[in-house]
């Protein structure tokens, strides 16, 4: 199998469309611990397309409002930060999330569904274990964590049986290592390179880079990385992986340094993920760009 060199990876990353200015600013803003809703409103107002999409989502059947909401302020406060971020990312990077991941034998849209479920689960882990970090930031990080798969999937074409064989013979410890052995890069590294080009906030880049090995994350963001590590595992257990790599990663039990999860809390989280996902997927469409 052909390995991707550093130069080629840079080429792949640079061929990906940039985030829109408003999505990029929204990610910067919402990563700040002290941001206010009003700042989000001001930012969304500068983007007419995003404003229209937010109003369309809030008035969709999924929310069942009796009277239409016509003001963007009310729409944003009703939907909450995480849904606004989902709309903004889906609108400008929807094609990437919608892509068929042939290298993982996953259908178009599977990546977006997995990311959305990871996002909801990471947020719930934070909420239900009373952690100190921002639940909404955990959501955003969950949404973006696997973006590298869209970049390397084509290079992994027809490799799924080989990857699984490498893992079962213990030549690779997990799917991540199998990717690295087969093409020279894994999806977290590819995603991290894109995070740099997209100038994502450091917290989000750290999650993209280390979500399978959260102990390697810098101290400052480690708790957030563990939240997404758990969210990712919960999404896969719930039957929403991205094809051949589903559940072929190792759970780091040291999450318990940050989150107190009992079997009952976990069951509640899984149930909430199922219910929230149904609602969000319905209101956003299967992917963020399901305009048509």
């Amino acid at each position: 199998m052909k390995k991707i060199g550093q130069d080629e990876l840079q080429k792949i990353v640079k061929s990906v469309p940039m985030l829109s200015a408003s999505a990029s600013q929204l990610l910067q803003l919402t990563a700040k611990p002290d941001h206010e809703l009003l700042e989000i409103v001001t930012l969304v107002r500068t983007d007419a397309t995003l404003t229209a999409r937010v109003l369309k989502v809030v008035n969709s059947a999924a929310f069942g409002l009796i009277n239409d909401i016509t003001s963007i302020d009310r729409a944003i406060s009703y939907l909450g930060e995480r849904i606004i971020v989902s709309i903004a990312i889906g609108d400008c990077a929807g094609k990437l999330f919608e892509k068929e991941l042939s290298g993982y034998e996953a259908a178009g849209g599977d990546l977006w569904k997995h990311d959305l479920r990871t996002a909801i689960a990471a947020r719930e882990v934070v909420v239900q274990s009373d952690a100190e970090i921002s639940p909404d930031l955990a959501f955003t990080a969950g949404l973006l964590h696997d973006i590298g798969k869209a970049l390397i999937s084509d290079y992994l074409k027809d490799s799924a049986p080989e990857a699984l064989a490498l893992i079962s013979s213990q030549d690779s410890k997990d799917y991540l290592e199998a990717e690295e052995q087969m093409i020279g890069f894994d999806h977290t590294r590819a995603g991290f390179e894109l995070a740099k080009v997209w100038k994502l906030p450091a917290e989000l880049a750290e999650v993209i880079h280390h979500h399978h090995n959260p102990a390697d994350a810098v101290d400052q963001y480690r708790e957030l990385v563990y939240a997404v590590h758990l969210g990712d595992n919960i999404a896969m257990l719930g039957g929403f992986g991205t094809g051949s790599d589903s559940m072929q990663y190792r759970l780091d039990p040291n999450y318990s340094d940050y989150f107190n999860l009992t079997p009952k809390t976990l069951a509640n989280i899984m149930l909430t993920v199922d219910m929230e996902f149904e609602k969000l997927a319905q209101s956003l469409g299967n992917s963020g760009d399901a305009e048509e």
């Binding site: 997990d174 896969m236 929403f240 051949s244 199922d274």
Partner: protein
């Protein structure tokens, strides 16, 4: 060919020879399959969690979601096709209940699902004749109503029968 597609927490049954009953990508969820040779009926429930006590409202809306409410509701559904109400003579098969690698006790949801299901089945005097449980991979299950053949598939692996 008609298909009955079951999502998470759904249950269904069919005796139409041309149909298949199918559920996609079981992770830690467990699919309970009932085959009644007498009426040639196939039933399946896609169970997500062991115990309905965590959310009674959900259990009411979607009884198939939990092991303790899912099995009785599947049996009830099967009786509409003339099957025995306590499952007498039925062949039971189980699949799913996967785990992530290096799982700890808290994350053994698949195992807890399988155990809860077996307990409920025992309370009806039933037991599985074959099972394909555990492992670190997802399973899509397709059952032919005509032949009763249960086919499993998973991305990157050849299909297999249960």
């Amino acid at each position: 060919m008609g298909q009955i597609i079951l999502g998470v927490g759904d249950f269904g049954a069919s005796n139409q020879a041309g149909e298949v009953v199918k559920t996609f990508a079981l992770g830690s969820c467990v699919s309970v399959i009932m085959l009644d040779p007498k009426t040639r009926t196939i039933g399946m429930v896609h169970v997500a969690l062991p115990d309905s006590s965590i959310n009674k409202v959900k259990a009411h809306e979607k009884p198939g979601y939990f092991a303790d409410t899912g099995i009785p509701v599947l049996l009830q559904q099967m009786t509409r096709f003339g099957c025995h109400k306590r499952g007498k003579g039925m062949v039971v098969k189980l699949c799913g209940g996967a785990n992530v690698m290096d799982t700890n006790d808290t994350f053994k949801i698949g195992k807890r699902n399988a155990l809860a299901i077996k307990k409920i089945l025992w309370s009806f005097g039933m037991g599985a004749v074959s099972e394909d449980l555990g492992g670190n991979f997802s399973r899509t299950v397709t059952i032919s109503v005509e032949t009763g053949q249960v086919t499993l598939s998973s991305p990157g692996r050849p299909n297999w029968q249960l």
